[in-house]
Structure formats: C-alpha cells, structure tokens
Amino acid sequence: MTSTVHIDVHHLTRVEGHGNIVVNVTDGAIEKCEWQVPEAPRFFESMVRGRHYSEVARITSRICGICAVGHTLASVKATEDALGIEISAQSRKLREVLKHAENADSHVLHAYILVAPDLAGAPSVFPLVETMPDVVARALRLKRLCHEWGSLIGGRTTHPTTVVPGGMAEVPTVKQLAELKEKLLAAVPDLEATVETVAALAPNIPAFDRPTEYIGLSDDENYGLYDGLIQSVLPDGTKQRYPVADYRLVTNEFVVPQSTAKYTKNKLSSYAAGALARFNNNYDMLVPEAKRAAEALGLQPICTNPYMNTVAQVVEVVHSVYDSLRLIDELLDAGVRLEPLVQPTKHGRGIQSVEVPRGILFHEYDYDAAGICQGGNCIIPTNQNHNNIQHDFDVLVPELLAADTGEKEMELALEMLVRAYDPCISCSTHHLDVTFVR
C-alpha cells in the first residue's frame, strides 16, 4: 500500500476555469484530500439588478463562454416565464436545434481536445497533430460544423445574439436550413469515426464505480435538453420528478471553505449532473442511432462510473445530430418566416431551466412593472457537481492507495476524474442566495 503522497495541482489544465487538487497522505493516513475552487467571483446576479428585461440574457450569457447558448436560453425562458410570454412553435423548434448545436459543440471540444490526450498518453492535442493527424483534423472539422450549426440559428455560438424574450430576432431562410441539413448528413461518417475512435480508446478509461444520485431534466416526449421537469434517479433505478419552480428544494446549496462556488445535495450526500446523469435518467428517449452508439461504446443505464461521462457525451452528440435532422425537416415542411416578438402580458418572478452540456441549469429573475430586473439567481451544473467530485475523491483516493498506486499515477487519475465532469468553473462561482427586493 502506498503510504506517502503529496499532490498539489495548482490550476488544473484542460478544464474551463480554475481548480486545484490537493492530496496529502503521510504514513498511510489521509490528512487532506480536496477538490478546491479558487475561481475569481464575478457577481452576475448583482449586475442584472436595474437592467431592462431585453438586456438580462445578454449579461448572463457572459457567465460562460462554452455554455453561452444554454445560459442565454435559460435566461430568456425565465424572463418569458416572469413576463407571461408564450413563444411560437417555430421559435421553440429553432431554439431546440440551437440547444442541440451547443451540446454537440461542447461535447466535441471536451471529448477530442480536453479528454482524448489523456487516453492517448499526450499532454495536449498539439502533439497529436503529428501522431494522429486524421483524428485532429476530424475534431477541428466537427468543431467548425457545430459552430456553423449554432451560428446559423443563434447568430453566433459564443454569446448568441438572436434569442430574445418573445421569440427569435432573426430566423434562417429555408435554403439555409436545407444547407444545414446537408452539412449534418455529410458529417455522419465523421460521427461514426468518432464512435470508433472513442471505442478504441475506451479500454484506457479507468474502472471506478461510485453509485450516486443523478439529476437532470426529463420530459415525456423529448430527451429533456431544452425543457422538462427536474428528475432524480437513484442507483437502484428509483425515479422522482419535481417542478422546475421547486429547484431550491432539490439543490439545497451550502457554503464550504475550499470553494468560491457553493455545494449542493438532494437525497444522498451529493449528486451528479451532466451527460451521464441525463443518460441515466432519459436513456429511453434517445434516438435509435444514439442507442446504437451507446451499445457500440458499452454504455448502459444506470452507469455509475463517473469517467464514463465523456462516453455519454459522445452518445449525446449522435442524438443531437439526428434529432436536429428531425426538427429541421419539420421546420422545412412548415416553412420558416420572421415572426413579431411576443410582448409581455404581466410582470413578476420567473424560474426556468435548460440542460447545458455539463448538466441542469436554473435561472430565476424578478421584474417590476416597467420590465426592470430586481434581482436574479443562477444555479450552474458544475457547481452542483463540485460536491460529487469531492465525494468521488473521498472514495477513489483510499482505493488507489490500497492498490499501491504511485503518486504520479494517482495525480493523473484524479485529474482525469475532474476532467471527466467537464467542469465549467468560471460558471460555477456565480450562484448565491438572493434577497429579492419587493
């Protein structure tokens, strides 16, 4: 058994934002084993006070550069909820295609650029330009496709412009949508090759199981990305649904000293959000092509290995491409026209949720009669995962010590575990308890 370990990873690489891993083991005794979040706080919930409802999503989009689409959608949906706005079926479909684009975009980035180097034994994607040129070119090609896919609907992918309270400020033409369909169909060989590459690297994914609670949006008709109810599934398969408006009863935030982000828990000591949590909750709602990809990758619900989150992301990329093809066909059949924005019918408080690549996201705002924001609250998926990562550490470190794992190998195993969650740390330091001014 390994008896002395000192791991001090300052500002973990290949994750969004800043996190540290500290493990101290002396004479077999674990003195410290921490996932720390030192990210600079940015105070978004304070910034939205006094801003007009049309400006709020443009501010809160800036919480995250990777899930900017999801923050924009959650923000605009919450504002629409507060102001009594019902958007059209066309607007909803366009937003669903945009949501799929973001999910695929972020997952491609994570699986290829952030995780694959670990599985291929490289410090980053750059050495792979020489050793695996086809894979790197495919990654950049898919990333660009997702960027074009999202930009056609959202105006751009980093801080989208077209999604506004009341609908869509701009819509693509039928011709542009038909071209997008062709591009997505042309990418199918790259998708299949992605599944093959990940299946080939999968034996390098660590075997580690820690059953936990999995929370995600769930819906009777869809996989639950753009909309749904909060759903929890326990390792024994027990499911429970909650209205989105009750999100505070599910998240139960609390403050810990090693983190600028708060922690959360529900039924167990911690819970997980993200692709694996969605997969475990919503497997039945995946399109057949995505189920086939899951089978090829050896992923089945309920999977309790957190490292498999990346594999679940690849399954979701396949789902997002095929479900978008369905939505695009429906849009093409109906024809697409620029619709006037739906205007507010009331004012007050609104709470809404979407699934962003890293898991379930909640936005809440309060508006006065002039449409001016009085306060907000955002609970971000990574911040819901910090506590689960810490609990994984608490089980994994003793297991690794017992297995005689060396310090360097242990450091890599912990780094890979954090990366598997695809943490979006800049996001996670913005939630808070808010006192609403009435």
Binding site: E16, R42, S46, R62, I66, I113, P117, S124, T161, V164
Partner: protein
C-alpha cells in the same frame, strides 16, 4: 528561424474568447500552427513553460490583488502583450458591478467577508501592466485576431478601427434600430465586428467598448428623445460593456 512562441493566459472571465480559437476549422487552424508555436494554453494543454514568450494573449479582467503578481510575471516574460477580449481590454461586462456598493453582500450574503471571496472593482489588465495591442469584443472577432497576429508576424502595426458601428451598418445597408422603434449604442460603439447585431434585428450593446472620446451626453439625449427612454434608463444604458468608460467620463 524558430517560430514565434505564443501563450494564452486567463483571469476573471468566461473564457469564451479562448473557445473562439477552436472555431476556425481544420485548415485555418492547422495553417496557423505552421507559423506559431503555442507553448502554454491552460484551458487546452498541460504543457507549461517558464521561457520568454513572443506573444502573450491575456484574457479576463483584473479583479483582485492576488492576480497582480501573475500579471507582472507574464509581462516580464512576454515581448508583446495582447489584451484578448473585452474583459482584458476594459473590464468588459465584469465592470457592470463597479458602481454597486453592495455587490458582495448581494451575492454571498453573510459569507461575503470570507477571504477567498475577495473581489475588487473590475478593470482591464492595463490597470496593472502595459498592454501593446487590444483585441476588442465580447467575444473577440476571431478573424480580426488572425489579422493582428498576421500583422505582427510581418512586422507591421495592426490596424484597429476607431470609428463607430454606425459606419458598418451603413456599409451593410442595415436599417437603423431607431427607425425600427428600438434603441442602439452603435453611434458610440467601436466598430470592427461588421455590425452583426443590428443586422439581426437587435441593438448594438457596444461589446467592443466605445470609440475614443464618446459623446455620452448627446447619446443619452437621443435615447430619451428618439427611443422614449426615461432619463434614468438612458443614463444607465452606457454601463452594459462600458461601465469603466462611464465612470471615467
């Protein structure tokens, strides 16, 4: 001759400008790698260096004293420093809290005095170190970034627009937001983005900051007279991505 060494560093921000680097597609990005060596980029690579750097891209705002030393260390190692994105250029959206005396208490309540929650007003990184060039925008215009790098590699001075977004709307023949019954900040906003927002039917929010010497008094007058803003909302409008410019005026 060895290729110029390029590195990326991040401070308080959303890191979306770094993400823009991955959106060029295979051919442009691989071609870029033929001309520069990316030696440090924490979000994408584990490799690190203590060697001198030819071009340092710094993303994010200066918001806490703990970051001062890291900024000065980067400046010492870098031949050229580029403020990368609006947070690094002027403080960007992070400065929207600067005029609020209670932002910490509002967000963290009774926990707000914990030392690790330290945050001061947000500034561009030139509050601490000398910046050689500015890549404006929230997010950056990724093609402008290529232009800046290309100019530097050729030993030329990058050209950054210092005229308002209105010029680009006229060039695109976009109908003015005010003529559509909306408002807009394009008259004060620094161009260089090709004005995508008004063309998509939404107002410019000046995410690239202001042109030099913006006439804020005239801007507020226009918002009140042509867009029907209350004087208070007109005065607040200028804070969106440009709060520090408003404080300085």
């Amino acid at each position: 001759m060895s290729k110029p060494k390029v590195a990326f560093f991040d401070f308080a921000c959303c890191e979306g400008c770094q993400i823009e680097m991955t959106n060029y597609g295979a051919e442009p990005f691989l071609e870029l790698l033929e001309h520069v060596d990316i030696v440090e980029f924490r979000e994408a690579m584990s490799e690190k260096t203590t060697e001198p750097i030819d071009i340092a891209f710094i993303e994010g705002s200066f918001t806490r004293e703990a970051d001062r030393e890291r900024l000065m260390e980067i400046r010492k190692r870098a031949r050229v420093v580029i403020a990368y994105g609006q947070c690094a250029c002027t403080g960007g959206i992070n400065a929207l809290k600067n005029h609020q005396p209670d932002y910490k208490q509002f967000v963290y309540g009774t926990d707000s005095d914990l030392p690790h929650l330290d945050s001061k007003k947000a500034y561009g990184v030139d509050h601490v170190i000398k910046v050689d060039y500015y890549a404006y925008g929230c997010p950056v215009n990724k093609y402008e970034v290529l232009q800046i790098v290309s100019h530097l590699l050729h030993g030329k001075e990058p050209v950054i627009p210092n005229y308002p977004v209105c010029v680009e709307c006229k060039r695109r023949e976009t109908v003015c937001r005010f003529d559509e019954g909306d408002h807009c900040m394009g008259m004060l906003a620094r161009a260089g983005c090709d004005a995508p927002c008004p063309a998509a039917g939404i107002p410019c929010e000046a995410c690239r900051g202001f042109v030099d010497e913006p006439n804020l008094a005239a801007f507020e007058k226009v918002l009140v007279e042509r867009a029907g803003f209350t004087p208070q909302r007109a005065a607040e409008k200028g804070r969106m991505f440009t709060a520090n410019a408003l404080e300085a005026s």
